[in-house]
């Protein structure tokens, strides 16, 4: 079988294999996650022109004929470096976390153009000189957008019981089953201002960095907590990049 051209394919994970090879996890639209063997990628830097790095969006040639269970990469060309090189450590942590999430939730041979769209929209959010205060809203909005792709995000503006508006505050129960309006909520505790929810909803719908940055800091922590609970359903354990991001955001390093 001749090599197949696949585009776009975003590198989400790279692992050393044997002495000179790499196993590269690619996120694609039509084939979901595609793990490919890149022979001699480490012994010859010229072979794949240094593009087999996380955050690179590629056009690849893949020989799908199976060796064991892996397809073989025969060519790769850079379409877009989603992150670029001019990145601060905190931004790199966030972008790495997004790649880690994508690698985790993606499935082989399972077309998921929404997931690819999510990754290619959110990783560039991290690029450029992201200031430390930008990281929490970008993280929150990226997580919410991923949950929406996975079908786990409740409607952030409508009451789960009466379908009315959640203005002026939404009550999000700890089990995560959607939001309740002030009338339907049994208690008035743990309320999230409508502004936080509306801005988050806007950034999720538009996948847009600018609206994510407008999510107010006040009242955000409860939403962050609920988002974590929902995410743990899809990604039961925190990966390396998530731990790095967390300790960076807590100012531990």
């Amino acid at each position: 079988m001749p090599s197949q051209l696949i585009s776009p394919a975003v590198v989400v994970r790279v692992q050393n294999y044997g002495e000179a090879d790499l196993i590269v996890a690619l996120l694609t639209a039509d084939r979901g996650r595609l793990d490919v063997l890149a022979r001699s990628a480490r012994s010859s830097r010229k072979r794949f022109a240094g593009v087999l790095r996380p955050f690179c969006q590629l056009q690849v040639l893949v020989d799908l004929k199976r060796h064991g269970s892996l397809a073989t990469l025969t060519g790769a060309e850079l379409e877009r470096d989603l992150l670029g090189t001019d990145v601060e450590y905190g931004a790199l942590c966030l972008a790495s976390y997004l790649c880690e999430l994508a690698a985790h939730v993606s499935q082989p041979e399972h077309a998921d153009p929404q997931l690819l769209r999510w990754l290619t929209a959110c990783v560039p959010w991290c690029a450029g000189r992201t200031v430390a205060e930008d990281l929490p809203p970008l993280k929150l909005a990226s997580e919410a957008a991923l949950l929406r792709v996975l079908g786990l995000l409740p409607d952030l503006l409508i009451c789960g019981r009466c379908s009315g508006d959640v203005q002026p505050v939404g009550h999000w129960d700890p089990d995560g089953h959607g939001l309740l309006c002030p009338h339907c909520s049994p208690t008035q505790r743990e309320a999230t201002p409508y502004l936080v929810l509306a801005q988050l909803q806007a950034s999720v719908m538009a996948l847009d960095r600018a609206s994510a940055l407008l999510i107010p800091a006040t009242g955000r922590s409860l939403v962050e907590d609920r988002m974590q609970r929902l995410l743990r359903q899809a990604v039961p354990q925190a990966g390396r990049a998530e731990r790095a991001l967390r300790s960076h955001m807590l100012g531990l390093d």
């Binding site: 002495e19 790095r53 001019d86 990145v87 450590y89 942590c93 790095a244």
Partner: protein
């Protein structure tokens, strides 16, 4: 492995085969080559290998490889302590030494920040660097981490640590390699080279 070979040869071949770039067959060839040499060669090789971990450790100052407390660069009075070059690995230090362009001192971080590989600031020698700079401030710190997303993140993290100090922090230039044709360069390299252009001196 070849069942007809003596166990001693096979054992050596198996150990040699774990070296980078050495496959099973070349490991066997190397083992047979050692055997074909005068016995002193094999003895010398064995002693050199056995003493490696006892005789070599990290320099107390810069974390280059050293036989004494200080490496040969740190203990050299002709090196300029006003210039401090920060690199990721010993191999990078050696590469800069080969260029012959640098007469200052080094600091080997031990890698670059990489969240995906679980390398955070506490896994690298940042604290040692900050302490060293506080004890004997150089006039310039040259950040020679790799030109990659990890290398840049490491450089910007380092810049943050040195913020507020009166030390000049510089970054090695990146751009068009010697002898290369622009046509074949990747966009990122060419873009950087264009942004970091220099005045043409008459």
């Amino acid at each position: 492995m070849d069942a007809s070979l003596p166990l001693a040869v096979e054992r050596l071949a198996r150990l040699l085969g774990r070296l980078p770039g050495v496959g099973e067959r070349s490991a066997q060839r190397l083992a047979l080559h050692v055997l074909a040499q005068p016995v002193d060669y094999a003895k010398g090789l064995g002693e050199a290998l056995a003493g490696l971990h006892d005789e070599v450790h990290f320099c107390n100052e810069c974390f280059h490889l050293a036989e004494e407390e200080l490496c040969r660069i740190c203990s050299n009075p002709h090196r300029d302590p006003q210039l401090l070059c920060v690199v990721e690995e010993v191999a990078d230090l050696l590469a800069i030494e080969r260029s012959g362009e640098f007469r200052g001192l080094y600091h080997v971080l031990g890698g670059a920040l990489s969240p995906l590989r679980g390398v955070g600031p506490r896994d690298l020698r940042f604290a040692e660097l900050v302490a060293r700079i506080a004890a004997a401030p150089p006039s310039e710190v040259i950040v020679a981490t790799s030109i990659s997303v990890e290398g840049e993140a490491t450089a910007s993290y380092l810049l943050g640590l040195l913020r507020g100090q009166t030390i000049e922090v510089t970054r090695i230039a990146s751009g068009v390699p010697q002898g290369s044709e622009l046509e074949y360069l990747d966009q990122a390299t060419l873009g950087r080279a264009m942004r970091a252009r220099l005045p043409l001196r008459r």
